[in-house]
């Protein structure tokens, strides 16, 4: 880690401390998997409580009657009882866990053949070690208690149902000398196991016991962002860099290496990874495990650094890295707050720097460079979707507006998605928003360009868009594309505030400016699919739901995976061009989920989700039985035009816009 790249993590301490309390101490993410979560919480709490005991025991061997400062008197007695209860619970937990791992073998721990051998042995072994610690401590104390009892000496409080109590009861009939032998043997066993465990810990997944606290403390605080190429290199200095991205292990930042060491191999990330679910060669868990193993190979504890296989040709595969849709499900799930997206982006930067880009992605990159959109269509056709809509202004010398509707590429050029553009414009007009579009001055937001590793092209696009936005003089930006939304909000700097259309709609509905008609067909069942870049990355889950629920008479159900557990539709932006190796499609699985929930219409708020879901409906043969609509399209359909004031922006609505409505 000393050789690794710079990563500024000692900052914003208040937030970090808060996060550590929440995720490390309060184990906030654990209960997402109920059984494993409870088991782990017990183990964790037990560990924290018993760590004091373990330390005490070490010193007891040297100093008789040693107690830790503060635990001498009454508090110490209370502690002894508490720790007995804790030890008992920990042992029971270990037994349950061992059975669960060894006998029931839950699927998410499976190790596919190409990644090597099963990890169950290691898991059960450690559980045995912990059990051993519990049992040996119980015997150590139990033997003392039994002796004290025999000798009618004062004993400390012993609860009969605890391990210590049981041990005492079992050992009771023995002679003093036996008890002494047991006492010594138990002590030595405990210390042996304890010190062995301490040395064993860093060698595998249980290193997380030590590193987890730090890993959480140093977590990534800014969701939805992508790390710069190098934290200590400014944008202007980028041209001078020899190499971009991660090409070898040492190129990772120290925090990312800490992530590798901290991975507890729990598999929750891969269990939620949509790419993994459809059979793509991506399993986030194994990226961590393989890199961790590679780090150990290169920097073993005993011998010197060795030159093992290279990162991209030996440890990881190209398709593994290109398969990721950056949906963020892995990061959302990981109890240790391990980061994946930044690593994937860094690895992609390395591949792009070497020219190792799949042919299917080279064409859109080239088109983006030449035409500002991945389709290679002519710039002047970017606002053709609006040519018959008189109320859509193209901002420039002749027109200005308060709000910019940032359309982005797919919505501008795709025949089907242009309908969403028209619906959005119509709804904005109906809602009294004074808006305009950039027209041919708009370029692709570059959101995927950056996340697919072409940083310099992204910066070009960003700079040109920023210039156009600032020149237009708008005070606010609204978009119906969550990828553009995320880019403008997190990747761009110095531009006006950005909102997603659902936030604008929610506000307008709450203020009564917009009203929606009752649903006509009572048989239609709606469900909302959370787009990754609206939901997980930006935390916007409720606004679109409130918009939908504002439609009188709407029947809405939730799919089994919703909100922060939403299942990625297949990916957006450049992912639509990539040709993955997969067994089925994410969109198809998602449509299945909608069907299972009893829905007949899937509502989404992202053009890429629309493309993927509509495609999946077709190829699943559900045409006619299921359909997809964009949130804006449904709102437009249900708009109560009669209830609106004059649709031209009035003074009232103008001040709404000024005051940030």
């Amino acid at each position: 880690m000393c050789l690794a790249s710079f990563d500024p993590r000692i900052n914003r301490l208040a937030m970090r401390i808060g996060a550590t309390v929440r995720y490390a101490l309060a184990q906030y993410r654990q209960p997402r998997y109920p059984l494993a979560g409870i088991l782990h919480i017990f183990l964790f709490v037990g560990f924290v409580i018993l760590s004091l005991r373990s330390i005490t025991l070490v010193f007891l061997g040297i100093i008789e009657g040693f107690t830790l400062p503060g635990l001498g008197g009454a508090l110490g007695n209370v502690y002894m009882v508490v720790k007995d209860i804790a030890a008992t619970i920990v042992l029971i937990t270990c037994l349950i866990a061992m059975i669960r791992r060894g006998v029931f073998k839950p699927k998410r721990y499976d190790v596919p053949a190409r990644y090597g051998k099963n990890h169950t042995t290691e898991a059960v072994f450690v559980l045995l070690l912990i059990s051993g610690l519990m049992v040996s401590d119980a015997l150590f104390e139990g033997s003392l208690v039994a002796y004290q009892f025999q000798s009618h000496l004062e004993t400390e409080m012993v609860l009969p149902m605890t391990l210590k109590g049981m041990a005492a009861a079992v050992l009771a009939p023995n002679a003093a000398s036996t008890l002494q032998a047991v006492h010594m043997a138990a002590y030595l066993s405990h210390e042996l196991i304890f010190f062995f465990f301490l040395c064993f810990l860093p060698l595998g997944k249980h290193f997380h016991v030590i590193t987890s606290f730090f890993n959480v403390f140093f977590m990534k605080l800014d969701k939805g962002t992508v790390k710069p190429v190098k934290w200590d290199v400014s944008e202007e200095q980028l041209d001078g860099l020899e190499s971009f991205g991660v090409k070898k292990l040492e190129d990772f930042t120290w925090k990312h290496m800490l992530d590798f060491y901290s991975c507890a191999d729990c598999g929750r990330c891969s269990d939620n990874c949509p790419a993994n679910a459809v059979g793509r060669p991506l399993s986030p868990r194994f990226i961590s495990i393989k890199c961790r193993d590679a780090l150990f190979e290169r920097y073993p504890l005993w011998s010197g650094a060795e030159n093992e296989k290279t990162l991209m040709d030996g440890v990881l595969e190209d398709d593994e890295i290109w398969s990721c849709t950056t949906c963020g499900a892995c990061e959302e799930e990981c109890p240790l707050l391990i980061e994946y997206i930044d690593k994937i982006v860094d690895l992609r930067r390395g591949l792009v720097d070497e020219g190792r880009v799949p042919q299917s992605l080279q064409k859109p990159f080239s088109a983006l460079e030449k035409r500002g959109n991945p389709y290679g269509k002519m710039e002047k056709k970017r606002s053709e979707w609006a040519k018959d809509l008189g109320y859509v202004k193209v901002l420039g010398k002749k027109a200005s507006a308060q709000t910019l509707y940032f359309v982005d590429s797919i919505t501008s050029f795709d025949d089907r998605i242009q309908e969403i553009a028209r619906a959005t414009a119509r709804v904005l007009q109906g809602a009294g928003v004074d808006f305009g579009i950039l027209g041919s001055a708009e370029m692709d937001s570059g959101h995927e360009v950056r996340r697919f590793g072409e940083e310099m092209l992204f910066l070009e696009l960003r700079n040109r868009n920023t210039e156009a936005i600032l020149e237009s003089g708008v005070k606010k930006i609204v978009t119906a594309d969550p990828h553009a939304f995320n880019a403008l909000r997190h990747d761009y700097k110095g531009i006006p505030e950005v909102e997603h259309i659902c936030q604008v709609l929610e506000r307008k509905l709450v203020s009564g400016r917009l009203r929606l008609k009752k649903i006509e067909d009572p048989h239609v069942v709606y469900t909302y699919h959370d787009p990754c870049y609206l939901g997980r990355h930006n935390g916007i889950y409720e606004a679109p739901r409130r918009v939908l629920d504002a439609i009188p008479g709407i029947r809405r159900v939730e799919m089994e995976r919703s909100k922060d557990r939403s299942f990625c539709c297949g990916g957006g932006g450049l992912m639509l061009f990539y040709e993955p190796i997969e067994e089925t499609r994410m969109g198809k699985l998602r449509v299945e989920m909608a069907k299972k929930a009893g829905a007949t219409v899937i509502i989404t708020a992202c053009p890429f989700c629309m493309v993927n879901i509509e495609d999946a409906i077709k190829t699943s043969g559900l045409e006619g039985k299921m359909k997809a609509m964009d949130l804006v399209e449904l709102v437009l359909q249900q708009m109560d035009w009669g209830a609106l004031p004059n649709s031209k922006p009035t003074a009232e609505t103008h001040s709404e816009a000024k005051n940030g409505h």
């Binding site: 080279q362 310099m456 092209l457």
Partner: protein, 263 residues
């Protein structure tokens, strides 16, 4: 091995509609974007791979006006070691033969073991490679989709022939090969790569630098000259079925039945 790859800057036709301009003298070039000819790009990638295997240098050469420089630079960003820009007013209006004359002089000046061209370019002629070889009196092969260096002066090559079959031959060096698409998967060249070679010098050669008489090239030397461009007036064409999808499908089924194709 010293390799020379001849490249051309052409309009990007993927999404662009190529139309004839109002006067009929050329295609409509406003709003067009340009890039290196796709076949030539495959050739440069192949040259780079050969060099990485057996050593030597890769030089790219292109004949054209100022803008041509950008494609030379891009191929150098890809990995070519040197670039040469052939530019001279006397070369304007050259037909394929004229271009081959200029390139022949360039080859003679630089002395290359292997000369590669793309199998064809935007005008679909596919002529320069073969002409160049004959002028240099070197062996030639067109539509090459496989190259293996098998000896100090031999190559094993595969050619694409009719029916999707592949013809394998052994060819002696020095030689000229025209490269077919699909021979390899060209690497990606990003903005960063191009910036890295932004200040590398690309020498410009005029006809005097390569000792080519003006009357053998350019408009004077051309034996095939373009008169005009026009949009083809094609025949009757298909009978387009109208109506709703339902109606069209019914009509179509009727037609197919009448052809005895559906029982």
């Amino acid at each position: 091995m010293e390799i020379l790859v001849c490249i051309k800057r052409v309009p990007d036709t993927s999404e662009n509609e190529i139309t004839v301009n109002k006067e009929g003298t050329d295609i409509e070039r406003e709003d067009l974007v340009y890039s290196v000819n796709e076949w030539d790009n495959y050739a440069v990638e192949e040259a780079i791979r050969i060099r990485d295997k057996v050593g030597g240098t890769v030089t790219v050469v292109s004949l054209g006006s100022e803008e041509t420089e950008e494609v030379i630079r891009r191929e150098m960003a890809m990995g070519a070691d040197k670039g040469i820009h052939l530019m001279d007013p006397a070369l304007e209006g050259s037909d394929g033969r004229g271009i081959a004359v200029a390139l022949k002089a360039e080859v003679k000046k630089g002395g290359y073991d292997l000369v590669l061209t793309g199998a064809q370019a935007d005008d679909g002629a596919g002529q320069v490679g073969g002409m160049l070889a004959a002028m240099l009196q070197r062996p030639f092969a067109a539509l090459v989709n496989h190259i293996e260096v098998t000896g100090a002066d031999t190559l094993r090559i595969g050619r694409e022939i009719a029916g999707g079959n592949q013809e394998f031959s052994e060819i002696r060096l020095p030689c000229v090969l025209s490269i077919q698409t699909g021979i390899n998967e060209p690497r990606y060249v990003g903005i960063r790569g191009i910036r890295k070679v932004a200040s590398v010098e690309i020498p410009i050669h005029g006809i005097s630098d390569i000792a080519v008489p003006a009357e053998t090239v350019g408009k004077t030397g051309a034996r095939v000259k373009r008169i005009d461009y026009f949009t083809p007036q094609l025949g009757k064409g298909a009978e387009i079925l109208e109506g709703s999808d339902e109606e069209i499908i019914d009509k179509l089924i009727e037609i197919l039945k009448s052809k005895g194709r559906i029982k």
